[in-house]
């Protein structure tokens, strides 16, 4: 049966067809929807882990138990999972293990654009790279087979355009002849004490040599001879752009980007006049081709930064661009916190208190945007608390009071709680605000260990965040209603003054949560035009439901208005109005 699937849906389908039993992940754009699709197959035990390291460890356990296991993450998640990954290549697997790393060239939704292919080489793990949804499915199946055949984890590299692109896929059946998982002891292979690891390392190196040789004849590495004046080595989404823009060029389309099929590359290079390597981000293939003593052109014409597009590829080859319709300058449309978002009042208060805010990864990173403009740093998942501790170590006693870390519930559980442990242990005087909205919001409302539900939407045990902070040794823990501006500003101000660690936890849920027992809209609000003086105070929170309506007489005068379709009745704007002009519509 033919159907249209996204790359992520196709990876989930491939895992299903491959007989995968366990899928584990921490959500991260553009990888999130893989696990949101494995749950459609009841044969796969799918779960969210608190972070990527745990997710990979769960997959490793499933593999050691004899089942096929899938682990997915965004590119930066591999940094978190790198510790087990680098030793997993030594132990090898029992059931096939596939690790999907979804890169984000152009940083559509990420803080960097690191190239995961380097991890494959660094960790000595084979890596496949599909170029559309059909290959996402096929390569996922194949990755499981290679994993068992070569006794190694296999990485599958996707990118935003592959994961979120959709194309036509032919569905297959699930394999049924896999051995049943059961305990089987093999400690000299799986206990990586130095003595055992020394035995394993040469096997890993030999495995990669064997695989590189075998790869020359594997069907996913495809030599397509057309016009021999230009030959292009490429992989993944770049292959599609090459075929689009240079339909007559010969191509060596690599399905496996590590290890490279050296023999096939030499064969191809000998048959073309000028050899190019077209790849996004790092010169990963190019450097290796050049190290083989083969002349090639790559990063001389293709940028190291951002994603490739047909237009950029045309420019690289000096081809004419199609005529386009020009546009005038228009106001931009950046993303914004939702109407009623419980983070808004906290950032409004932090702005007023002139705090130095170490930030973290989540919707609340939008607290950086005007008019809230209350975030000063954001580096990676869980970093806010450690950074706050570090800042307080070097600035004056007066400035220490200004330092506040903000972190979401899911990010706190991911890697932030270690930072709090350190802050409390080493008695740093910073203030931590845990923005607990009961969900992993930015990636699309995924449950987490504190939300009380599993990925399969079953009720489950939940972390009690205030008690967890207490157990970590924090003495000053206060829970606030972030929709109460007076309370929010007062409590944050008091804790900033306190010369010891303190934790403030907000207690209102994300407005996008669909469970009615968690979030329900209140009555909508409206502006009384008679009372509104046009002072613009309510505009300072940047709520998308509040609009400035100019008087229309050319003057700067006007009044505020509230869009009843967008308002959630959070009450924050009413508290800003000194003229009692905002109230709920009963």
């Amino acid at each position: 049966m033919k159907t249209i699937l996204s790359g992520n849906e196709a990876i989930a389908r491939g895992a299903y067809e491959a007989g995968c039993l366990v899928a584990c992940a921490y959500p991260g754009t553009p990888s999130t929807e893989i696990l949101e699709n494995t749950i459609k197959y009841k044969e796969i035990d799918s779960s969210w882990a608190p972070n990527e390291k745990v997710a990979l460890e769960v997959a490793i356990g499933a593999s050691f138990g004899g089942g096929r296991a899938l682990c997915t993450m965004k590119h930066v998640g591999v940094n978190v999972a790198a510790d087990p990954l680098f030793t997993l290549s030594y132990t090898g697997v029992r059931g096939g293990l596939v690790l999907v790393a979804a890169d984000d060239p152009e940083m559509h939704s990420s803080q960097n654009e690191q190239d995961s292919r380097n991890y494959a080489k660094f960790a000595k793990v084979p890596m496949l790279e599909p170029s559309d949804s059909r290959e996402c499915k096929e390569f996922t199946r194949l990755a499981f087979e290679l994993s068992e055949q070569y006794d190694t984890p296999v990485m599958l590299r996707s990118s935003t355009r592959i994961s979120h692109g959709k194309s036509v896929v032919e569905l297959g059946e699930r394999v049924t002849d896999l051995p049943l998982p059961k305990l089987e002891k093999n400690p000299t292979k799986l206990v990586m004490l130095p003595g055992n690891a020394r035995v394993r390392h040469p096997l890993v190196e030999q495995n990669l040599v064997n695989l590189s040789k075998a790869a020359a004849t594997m069907p996913f590495n495809r030599l397509e001879l057309r016009d021999s004046s230009i030959g292009i080595i490429t992989a993944g989404i770049c292959y599609q752009y090459v075929r689009e823009v240079l339909p007559n060029a010969s191509t060596l389309k690599l399905g496996m980007v590590h290890p490279l099929p050296h023999d096939l590359i030499r064969e191809f290079a000998a048959q073309v006049d000028t050899l190019y390597v077209i790849e996004e981000l790092d010169p990963f293939i190019e450097d290796q081709v050049k190290a083989m003593g083969i002349k090639a052109i790559g990063k001389e014409i293709i940028s190291l930064c951002g994603e490739l597009t047909p237009g950029r590829l045309r420019s690289a080859f000096g081809l004419p661009q199609p005529a386009t319709i020009p546009i005038e300058n228009m106001p931009g449309r950046p993303p914004n916190m939702c109407p009623g978002c419980p983070h808004r009042g906290v950032f409004f208060a932090l702005n007023q208190l002139k705090a130095y805010v170490t930030g973290d990864i989540g919707c609340y990173t939008l607290g950086f945007m005007p008019p809230l403009s209350a975030m000063d740093t954001c580096v990676c998942m869980g970093a806010s608390i450690g950074m706050a501790t570090g800042v307080t170590k070097v600035v004056s006693a007066e400035e220490k009071k200004k330092v506040v870390a903000v972190i979401g519930d899911s990010t706190f559980l991911h890697t932030g709680m270690n930072g709090l442990m350190d802050m409390v242990y080493n008695n740093s005087p910073a203030t931590v605000i845990i923005l607990d909205n009961s969900i992993t919001a930015m990636t699309g409302r995924q449950d987490n260990p504190a939300s009380g539900h599993t990925l399969m939407n079953e009720p489950t045990n939940a972390v009690n965040i205030p008690l967890l902070c207490k157990a970590l040794g924090a003495k000053n823990i206060r829970v606030i209603n972030p929709l109460d501006l007076e309370e929010t500003k007062r409590v944050i101000g008091e804790e900033m003054e306190r010369p010891e660690p303190s934790v403030i936890i907000t207690n209102k849920p994300c407005v996008l949560i669909k469970r009615e027992d968690v979030f329900q809209k209140g009555p909508v609000y409206a502006v009384d035009a008679e009372k509104c003086t046009g002072c613009r105070a309510c505009l300072k929170i940047g709520c998308p439901a509040i609009e400035w309506r100019p008087a229309g007489d050319g003057s700067k005068k006007g009044k505020a208005g509230i869009d009843p379709l967008l308002c959630t009745g959070c009450d924050v704007c009413r508290q800003l109005c000194k003229f009692d002009a905002i109230g709920s519509v009963k």
């Binding site: 159907t3 559309d132 237009g311 005529a323 319709i325 228009m330 106001p331």
Partner: protein
């Protein structure tokens, strides 16, 4: 290859249901026997940012994104986003736009103004321009949320996909309880051209 490919862009603001509309279109094209690719960026789209969905169909499609200046049809759910995406359209391409303005944050806060006369300015650049009051027509069909389906109906006659495939795609992609209204909205859009 591009002369054999139909390139369609669906643009608007996060939360307008653009992804569903582009999925219905892709499904209809696949049912009609074409190779189809579709691409867009998720993630920030829930948060009210600009959304651009690319749909390409034909005998064999390579790039999932429409190269700049090669779009055949620009399908705008909001006027400013329609104007912003004009460089993706080929000169002489078709624009079907919803007559709707959604103010971005800087306009809501009174720091900038929403560009005036956008529909006329787009028309000045693109002769083949259809402005649709999707909101009103969808309300007439039974639910303002079906505005996207009105627009889909409006472009459906321009594409080499027969009506039966459109209806099959609607049946597959639209929840059962909203199907009647959406079919009505689709027909209203179809009658516009």
């Amino acid at each position: 290859m591009s002369h054999q490919i139909t390139n369609i862009l669906l643009v608007g603001v996060g939360g307008q249901g653009i992804l569903l509309a582009s999925e219905i279109l892709s499904e209809a094209a696949m049912l009609a026997g074409f190779d189809v690719k579709k691409s867009e960026i998720h993630g920030m789209s829930q948060r009210g940012g600009s959304v651009v969905s690319h749909v390409r169909y034909g005998t064999e499609v390579f790039s999932p994104i429409v190269p700049e200046g090669e779009g055949d049809i620009l399908f705008g759910f909001e006027l400013m986003e329609t104007a912003r995406s004009l460089p993706l359209l080929k000169p002489g391409g078709t624009v079907v736009a919803n007559d709707l303005q959604i103010s971005p944050p800087s306009v809501l806060m009174g720091q900038e103004t929403y560009p005036e006369g956008l529909a006329e300015r787009i028309k000045a650049q693109c002769a083949d321009f259809l402005l649709v009051d999707g909101q009103k027509m969808a309300a007439d069909a039974g639910n303002v949320k079906a505005a996207n389906t009105v627009l889909l109906g409006a472009i459906s006659k321009r594409l080499s996909i027969s009506e039966a495939y459109w209806l099959k795609a609607l049946e597959k992609m639209v929840p059962a309880k909203a199907l009647m209204i959406n079919k009505r909205a689709f027909q209203m859009g179809r009658e516009l051209l």
